[in-house]
């Protein structure tokens, strides 16, 4: 099994735009393993405990991204691969997927797991794109997963708006994890100590056999033009008149000011 992970700012981080206006400033930000990826790692570990096999975690990112791999190793993953090259940086979901898919050609797998999205750019694209590039089926936003190792199939449940959908797919396939799939374990202390001794394999552009034009900023499909911090001026308003008057006032505001009616 392979789990794709990303190192992202934690949800409490105060985001500031970096100089240049196209990226966020990393100063003073605490980075963590993307929470949806934690579900994916946990699910892979549970499958391993039930069915055997190996769990390899893969990330693409700067040097600090090793911490995300180390966290997954501490939870119990067996191996870690870090796609690390300045040329790979600054790209979008397309160029990241190209690099990841290339790396996955050399890692044997029956199943790829990943989070349904990274909580930093929320693009939700890398998992599906990797599956497309590898030519394997994908099931996204999964809250329940059953694997039949003998039949080489997986049944996945997806929570939709108001109903749930059960999808069966042959393996190998890619499954993206939604909250509710499981409750991720804490990495245990012995796990943390062992993770320190596990080797993280680093792949650069040359070892991936990719050209700089295919990856990173050069290989991206969409370009960020500008980043802006949302204005904080928008404040809620509380209508304090008695209910019939407040309702009339609300309707007037929704029509006249918010222009949504």
């Amino acid at each position: 099994m392979v789990v794709l992970v990303k190192h992202v700012p934690d949800t409490e981080a105060r985001i500031a735009v970096a100089g240049g206006g196209r990226s966020i400033s990393e100063e003073g930000i605490n980075f963590v393993l993307n929470p949806y990826d934690e579900f994916a790692v946990e699910e892979a570990l549970r499958l391993k405990e039930r069915l055997g096999g190996q769990v390899t975690v893969v990330t693409l990112g700067p040097e600090r991204a090793k911490e995300a791999l180390r966290t997954a190793l501490a939870m119990g993953a067996d191996e870690a691969v870090h796609l690390r090259d300045d040329a790979l940086e600054g790209g979008d979901a397309l160029s990241v997927s190209v690099a990841l898919a290339r790396a996955l050609k050399d890692i044997p797998f029956d199943l790829i797991l990943c989070g349904k999205q990274a909580i930093d750019d929320d693009s939700c694209q890398v998992g599906p794109r990797v599956a497309e590039l590898l030519g394997i089926p994908q099931v996204t936003v999964v809250t329940k997963l059953e694997v039949d190792a003998a039949a080489r199939t997986a049944r996945a449940q997806r929570e939709m708006d108001g109903y749930s959908e059960v999808v069966e797919t042959p393996l190998p396939a890619l499954v993206s994890a939604q909250k509710g799939l499981n409750e991720p374990r804490f990495p245990s202390l012995p796990g943390i100590m062992k993770a320190k001794r596990k080797e993280i394999k680093t792949l650069n552009l040359a070892s991936l056999g990719l050209d700089a034009s295919q990856v990173g900023r050069a290989g991206q499909g969409a370009e960020v033009q500008a980043l802006e911090v949302p204005s904080r001026a928008r404040r809620g308003r509380i209508l304090t008149s008695d209910p019939p008057a407040a309702a009339a006032e609300l309707a007037a505001l929704l029509r006249g000011e918010a222009k949504v009616l």
Binding site: K66, E67, R70, T71, A74, F186, P187, S188, L189, P190, G191, I192, M193, A195, K196
Partner: protein, 379 residues
């Protein structure tokens, strides 16, 4: 000097923080009200490898360093000083003497299950007539054939009724004062050994505190811990580590006080502005932050120094004295900033206030710390 945490220290801190936020903070008010020791939490901590944190893997531990241990104590104490204190007593006071002075056989038999988290350990030193003055120990141990016969009572023992094994001190050579004390390992269930009634305490209410009572208690001869008549020296060394641990607990509690007081001061509006805009409140918060930072970094540094093998008697006393008094001041000021809310159980600061007092008393009172420091200065 490198003051950056290693990746592993960061991960251990995060583990302790996540555990505290998910499994301690939501339940701590109930534990405090009922005075119930959350044994199930300690089982969980055992599974996560925390109960053997600093001991080598060959003895069932995780082999982490003292700074990692300090970080875990700090995080736990942010959530519950009672839980953190019981954890500290297990590791620093119960397990450490087994690790430092035990034979291979004793470590295999007693340290391993403790470090693996299957057992809890306690340390019996204090007696009704011998607290700060440990030389006045009354409990006796007399060799009778192949058994030691122990008589006496230990009081205010953390983890007493929960522990599967106790390390205790007893007089083995009458009239020799501190040079006539030895340490013994007493497993739960030893004939003649029982646990007295639990104390009803002002603070750290979910930490288990009771008496250990020995009435012709018989333990095998091989349960002498380390060498005969070396007990006093042994527990002084044990207490050095314990005091560093208490300093870490104080740092965690002081942080919790600052967090609560700052959040409240920023939200509570009086006379048209948040409390945090009033200089009288700002100065309290600034003092809390300043003392906390000094206590924290002194404690962190001392953890590193300890692992370098240095003797830390004076420094551990300084850390414990300063951090515990800083925590007590922080708790007092936090209650003051929250006003009437601080006085009610609606907010946790009243618990912090009650808990903080213990830090100035347990594992050597503030007065004893000053005495140790003065003695180390050559007074």
């Amino acid at each position: 000097m490198d003051f950056r945490f290693t990746e592993e220290q960061e991960m251990i801190r995060k583990l302790a923080r996540d555990l505290t936020e998910k499994e301690v903070i939501p339940k701590v008010a109930e534990w405090d009200a009922s005075g119930r020791f959350p044994r199930e939490l300690f089982a969980r901590m055992g599974e996560l490898g925390l109960l053997g944190l600093p001991f080598p893997e060959e003895w069932g531990g995780a082999g982490a360093d003292t700074l990692s241990y300090v970080l875990v104590l700090e995080e736990l104490a942010r959530g519950s000083l009672g839980v953190a204190l019981s954890y500290e007593a297990h590791v620093s006071l119960g397990c450490t003497p087994l690790y430092l002075f035990g034979t291979e056989e004793q470590k295999r038999k007693y340290l391993v299950p403790c470090a693996q988290g299957k057992w809890l350990a306690c340390f019996g030193l204090t007696e009704p007539g011998a607290g700060s003055d440990a030389g006045a120990t009354q409990t006796t141990a007399v060799l009778d054939g192949d058994q030691w016969v122990i008589n006496g009572t230990k009081c205010f023992i953390t983890n007493a009724s929960q522990a599967e094994v106790a390390v205790i001190t007893a007089v083995t050579a009458k009239g020799m004062g501190t040079r006539g004390i030895s340490a013994f390992i007493v497993p739960r269930g030893a004939p003649g050994f029982r646990v007295g009634k639990a104390y009803d305490k002002l603070g750290v209410r979910c930490s288990d505190t009771a008496e250990l009572i020995f009435e012709d208690c018989r333990i095998p001869r091989e349960n002498l811990l380390g060498e005969l008549n070396q007990g006093f020296k042994q527990f002084l060394k044990t207490l050095d580590g314990g005091r560093l641990g208490v300093a870490a607990l104080a740092v965690g509690l002081a942080q919790a006080c600052l967090d609560q007081a700052l959040r409240y001061a920023q939200q509570r509006v009086q006379f048209g502005q948040p409390l945090s805009k009033f200089q009288a409140v700002q100065f309290k918060l600034a003092d809390m932050a300043a003392e906390l930072d000094v206590a924290r970094w002194y404690t962190y540094r001392l953890a590193v120094v300890k692992d370098e093998g240095a003797r830390i008697t004076k420094e551990a006393a300084i850390a414990k004295l300063f951090a515990s008094e800083a925590a007590a001041r922080a708790a007092t000021q936090a209650v003051q900033i929250l006003g009437a809310y601080g006085f009610s159980s609606e907010y946790p600061v009243e618990r912090f206030y009650r808990d903080a007092k213990l830090l100035e008393i347990g594992e050597g009172t503030s007065e004893i710390q000053r005495l140790v420091i003065a003695r180390e200065l050559g007074c």
